[in-house]
Structure formats: structure tokens, C-alpha cells
Symmetry: C2
Subunit: 294 residues, 2 copies
DNA sequence: TAAAAATACTCCATAGGTATTTTAT
DNA sequence: ATAAAATACCTATGGAGTATTTTTA
């Protein structure tokens, strides 16, 4: 049976036009090389090399065989290499969804680290809130979602990334405008802006439970789906909002951020993925997420 | 080292989802198959098959490997097959030149036989007189020429195909019109049409030497380069012409063919080719020419 | 005559076989 | 309990090595 080895040997002989030099190049001795070429010719049932001439010449069939064999061996090697790269997660594609609040520091940091380690992987990035991420994971439209914690789910696994503290966003003309910090209980008489559960269930819920734990029922005057809209409502003086501290990276006209007195409550960011997704690229991505400080 | 064998084995396992059945299909026993797959995985440094499940499942890398391996093995086998076909002359191309007088029976016969045996070979056919054929052979524009004999040439070999007798073409109103045959010597008082040596040296020469051997100098009133033109001149009553009998296949208004009394002189048809042309297709073509009766 | 390919033989690595155990339904 | 894969062990084909003998330029 003809094997890749025979093609490699023949290519070496064809390139060197000399069995001895070819054998050296292949790190074998000359006699076995002669034998393997003879075996190849026998298996094919035809002569590839013009015998009784020096230097070695190829027959017509030999020339054709050489041309084709070159390409085939190259394809073979690339195929092996690509399989290994794929398995190591160094090649392929990954579709990542992320919530807007991760765009300031977290996503850039993760992407920078991942790109450095795996430049061969092409990344598709889509902004999505957490419920949409869960849906898209189930539909296999994304491989991983960077978002807020969510209830236990049989199909979806999640991996903790970081805890961030919350800050209070107030209108610039608010009486607290010169305070360096406020405590949670100070919020009990304030008009508050919160989120639709359908859009930001985790954060919306966080605001409610945090206030209740502090001993009061928040006075929610307006709900919104988007973080940027919430900031707009604050700027308009509609009320104050509890927001993850990462929003501080957007300074907005008419809005001031005031930290909460320690110990500030925190809200997590997680990476969510399908339990049955065995893609090695996903594993490499989670490794990066796990190893980094964000 | 990964060999084609490993790919074949893996493909069988992937297709059967079962080592035992795959081994049977490969005509080996099950344990060596398990071992070869293990060796393959070890060489690649990755798992292709999900262990501890039945039926056997492929890993992500395994699925990729399977897809690619299928194509590669297929290419490999086709490549071997094509090399063998090429070497046997069953595939490739052949350029054939032929003189017009071969178009009635000889060429159709040869082509029919060759096409039947080697349907994979594409044939390029060009009509050419014998001197042009020799020139084109030297320029490697054609592989073989079907034409008349020519003087010894260091580069060109030729192979006898057939001898054909000659007939006399006369105008319909000629006094011989009711004769069933004429003898060569009857031509000594006739106006004769012959060929330019530049176009048909062999046949032109044949006419001259044949007449001289019969004991007279032919009275040539007109020369031409083409057989069809010669027939036109005969029809116009300019003279009579000695022509190869194959022209009888074209019946022409105003022309009658009268055979020569036996023993009729004959003129050969040959296949000419370059001595250094080692193309196996040419060899197969010459085999066909040699074996046929035309 | 000198360099290179082909033989002759020896060795051993490994593909493949048989018998058996382990494992997953 | 049963069928299938893995393991253990053996055999033998054949790939590769060394020594030597043809070749041909």
C-alpha cells in the first residue's frame, strides 16, 4: 500500500536527483531509500525514475507524480497542523455577547489578552443584555455571554468574573452634589430610577433587594431598559439611580457619581456558556477570563 | 508519523461508529484498529474519539478531522489512480495531424478503435500535408502525423500503416469512360495532372517514378497542391490523374475512377512521430494503429 | 577510477493476530 | 447479561541499518 512516507521519499529523490543526498536529507541511509522507491514503483505498477542514468532523471509519469505529490504532502501536513491548532483552540471562530456595562474595561481587557494568545481565532462580538444572551446561548447563536448573574439553568453554566461596587448617579444640581459619599439608607426618601426586569432582571432585582436589606422600600419613579437611558433620566432630574461603578467611565453632562459608604454592596459579572459546548476555543477563552485581573 | 493508513482507519471508525464493524470493513481485527487509532491520537496529541460512550462519538476535533480526512484520502486515491492512468496512456491529450486522403476510411477507423480503448484521452485533430507534419513534429506542435512516406530523418521515426493501390481519375467524357481497367502504359499519351513537391512530395514523386518504371516520361500539363483541386482539374477535362484509391469515396460530378490492371503499384500511408517522444499515450496510439486493419 | 545506485543480509520496530479483561448499556 | 472496547501478549511483515557488489560517467 502506498503511504505518505513513499511520497516524501520520492519528493526528496526528485529534488536532489540523487539517492544518497536525498537519504541524508531524510535522515535514513541510502539502501532503504532505494528499496522504498522500488516498492513504490512496484505498488504503482510503473517506473518513476529513469534507471541507468546519472544524475537520476524522472520518467514522464515521475514528473507528473512529483508535481502532484508535492501538493498532496503539503496538504497533508497542513491538515495535521490545522487539526492540532483547532484542538488547541488556536484557530476557528468564537461568538461573544456582552452587556454594555462591560464595554469600558472588562471586554477590552479580555479581548486584548485573548487576541495576544490566539491571534488565529476570529471573534464575533455582539452587544446583548443578559436575558438575550441566555436565549442566544440556547439557540447556539453565541458561544459565550458576558453579563450579569442569572437563575440556575440546566443547559447553561456560568463562571464568575468580578464583583463591582455600585455608585449613586445624581443630577448635578442635587443637594448631595458636594458629598464625597452617601450611605444606602440615605436613598430611602429619594426618587429612584430602576430597570425593566425583562431587560436587566439581575440589576433591577439587585437594586430592590439591596434597598430592602438596608431597611426601606425604594421609591421607584421610572423604569428603563438601558443604562444610557437611565443616565439621561438622572440628568433630567427625574431621580437618582444605583449603577455599577463601571459607568463612571462615561462622564455625562448633568450627572454626578457618588460612591456608597463602605462596605458597598457589589454586583457580579459572569461569563455564561452552554454546558455541552466542547469547543476548545471556548475553553481557551474561559482560561483567559479566569486568569486575568479586570 | 501519521500515515494515510491512519486516516483510512479513522474514517472507517467514524463512519461505523463502532470499532468492531470498522475493523471488519478494513479486513483487520478489532484490537489493532483500537491501537492504530490510539497511536494516531497520540501522534496528533489530541483525542478524536469520545471514550467511555457507546456508540462511539467523535470529539469536536474528531469531527473536523473526519471531514478533512475524507477529502484527503479521496484525493490521494485519485492521485494514485490518475498517475497509473497517465502512465498507461489512458488519460491526457494527443495531437494528431493527418493528410486529407486519410479522412475517408483510415482516420475514422483509427479514431474509432482508439476512442473505444482510451475514452479518457482527448484528441486534437489537424489536417496537414506530409511536409507540414514533419515540421510540426520537430516543433513539438503535434505528437503524431498520419501521412505519406518521407526521407530518412534523425529526429523522426515512422511506422508503416497500409499500402493502397492507385486509380486513374478521368473526365466522364473521356474515351476510356467505359473501360473496366487500364494499364499504366496507356497513360503515356495522356495529359496528366500532378502535385507540387512542396505540398505532396511523396505522391508527386510516386507518380513520376511509377511512370518512368513503366517506360515513359509522363506528360504533366498542370500541377496542384491539393487532392480536391486535382479532381476539379480532371472534371474540367484538363487531364487525367493518378490518385490513391481512397479518393473513390468521394464521387465527384464529371470524374470517373478506373482501376489499374494488376499488379497495381501501391503507395503507403505511415504514422510519423518523434523518436524522443516517450509519451505513453503516443505508444498506445501506435499500438492501435499497428493492431488495426484499415 | 571514483562516486553512486543496487544487492545481500541482518535487525528490530511495529502492524496485525489471538486470548482475555474491562466497561457500558 | 451482553456486546463492544481496551489490554496483554505474541507473531511476522517489512522498514531501516551495515557491508558489499555492481554500475556509469
Amino acid at each position: 500500500m502506498v503511504e505518505i512516507r513513499h511520497l516524501r521519499y520520492f519528493i526528496a529523490v526528485a529534488q536532489e536527483s540523487n539517492f544518497s543526498r536525498a537519504a541524508e536529507k531524510l535522515h535514513i541511509s541510502q539502501p532503504p531509500l532505494s528499496q522504498q522507491i522500488q516498492k513504490l514503483e512496484e505498488d504503482l505498477g510503473l517506473m518513476l525514475i529513469e534507471r541507468g542514468t546519472r544524475p537520476v532523471m524522472l520518467t514522464e509519469a515521475g514528473k507528473f507524480f512529483y508535481q502532484q505529490a508535492l501538493g498532496l504532502v503539503d496538504q497533508f501536513d497542513q491538515f495535521i497542523d490545522k487539526t492540532q491548532k483547532m484542538a488547541r483552540g488556536e484557530e476557528g471562530a468564537l461568538t461573544i455577547a456582552f452587556v454594555s456595562s462591560s464595554t469600558y474595561e472588562l471586554m477590552p481587557g479580555i479581548l486584548r489578552n485573548f487576541r495576544k494568545l490566539y491571534p488565529g481565532v476570529s471573534l464575533n462580538l455582539i452587544e446583548m443584555n443578559t436575558p438575550q444572551q441566555l436565549e442566544s446561548l440556547k439557540n447556539k447563536q453565541i458561544n459565550v455571554g458576558i453579563g450579569r448573574p442569572f437563575p440556575e439553568n440546566p443547559e447553561i453554566e456560568s463562571h464568575w468574573i468580578l464583583d463591582e461596587s455600585v455608585v449613586v448617579a445624581i443630577p448635578s444640581e442635587h443637594v448631595w452634589t458636594n458629598k464625597t459619599s452617601v450611605s444606602l439608607t440615605d436613598l430611602k426618601d429619594e426618587d429612584m430610577i430602576n430597570f425593566y426586569w425583562s431587560h436587566e432582571p439581575s440589576f433591577g432585582n439587585f437594586v430592590m433587594t439591596t434597598c430592602r436589606k438596608a431597611g426601606f422600600e425604594p421609591h421607584v419613579v421610572q423604569r428603563t431598559g438601558e443604562l444610557q437611558t437611565a443616565l439621561g433620566l438622572v440628568a433630567a432630574g427625574i431621580g437618582v439611580a444605583l449603577l455599577p461603578e463601571s459607568v463612571e467611565h462615561t462622564s455625562r453632562e448633568g450627572v454626578k457619581y457618588i460612591p456608597l459608604k463602605t462596605p458597598s454592596p457589589t454586583i457580579s459579572m459572569v461569563a455564561a456558556y452552554r454546558k455541552d459546548d466542547s469547543s476548545p476555543i471556548l475553553k481557551r477563552f474561559l482560561d483567559v477570563v479566569r486568569s486575568g485581573k479586570y
